[in-house]
Subunit: 162 residues, 2 copies
DNA sequence: CTGTTATCTTACCCACCGGTAAGATAAAAC
DNA sequence: GTTTTATCTTACCGGTGGGTAAGATAACAG
């Protein structure tokens, strides 16, 4: 908290004027990250065509989010560091996102753009690959955010086709 | 450290008789986990056939490791919590595993069992999906470790075929 | 001009936790 | 049987870090 306050050029009590406690800040960062993802989900649900196209668009956008600060929070924040109330909120967000991804996959299976598969396992494996991005992505690294997003969208949807 | 000592039914100084410090314990757990994975890699390199079969075997075994305690350590231990020496060791292990997975993929491309692809991105996406398992796996959950391993091996190799 | 609220500071507290000092006990070495 | 080494205990320490008490300053309302 000292470091955060320093970074903002204020004192710690000034920080505590705006937030109740540390968890409050963490959760707010998490909410911002989830907000980015939910925006994506809504856009996709409206605009895209087949289930496969929706999944592909989701992967592309989610990968991009994982390369920005608040996106990283969604992956980096550990449930074990939270009190039960905050943990419940976090789980609700996670479940919601998971449900929607599974929904896209299901749509794909129904419209024939995705091969028959277990939606749960498939969603978990896509989410895992995407979440993991923020563990190795470096802003000044060999791979740009755009490259990663494009390549992941291609690679991960490859296996879904009938 | 108090909790760890309690769990072992000894006092904290007894714990410090066997380990230099906290990082030493963390690193030792990490080494055990990495050991499990390296065993797998060696077995696979010896026994299996095509590149694709090696990758498939790797996924199956790695998924299984992620569901056991010391396997989890490999994913859960955060580089940021270590001193530079330990971090260097950890990175060396990671790089080694990554190199070998990429090697299997490369073999597959060369022997024609895997379609042309970017080995780096492919390896990262497989590793991500696998590492993520320990974030949602529960011993008493709906999916058994065996089921997860089998399904992941199938799902993740689906997209690699030419 | 006065009372009120929002904003922010200095100075401080204290629980927690990684780690240690000093020594007791038990086993092994010779 | 004495010395040495491995094992383990009680009692303690000090830094860290999340959080607060009390009050100053600035903005605003009436």
């Amino acid at each position: 908290m000292n470091d955060v306050a320093d970074r903002l050029n204020i004192t710690k009590p000034a920080l505590y004027h705006y937030f109740d406690n540390k968890e409050d800040i963490l959760l707010e960062c998490y909410r911002l990250g989830v907000g980015l993802i939910e925006e994506i989900l809504n856009e996709i649900a409206d605009h895209c065509g087949t289930g496969l196209q929706k999944v592909e668009a989701f992967i592309h956008s989610y990968a991009t989010v994982m390369t920005v600060n608040f996106g990283r929070c969604v992956m980096r924040l550990d449930e074990g560091d939270l009190t039960s109330g905050a943990r419940a909120e976090m789980r609700a967000y996670k479940r919601k996102i998971d449900r929607r991804l599974r929904g896209f996959i299901q749509e794909g299976i129904e419209d024939g753009s995705i091969a028959q598969c277990d939606t749960k396992i498939t969603a978990f494996s896509i989410a895992g690959a995407l979440n993991w991005i923020c563990m190795w992505y470096e802003p000044d690294g060999a791979l740009s955010a755009e490259e990663i997003a494009t390549q992941f969208a291609r690679t991960l949807t490859q296996g879904l086709r009938p």
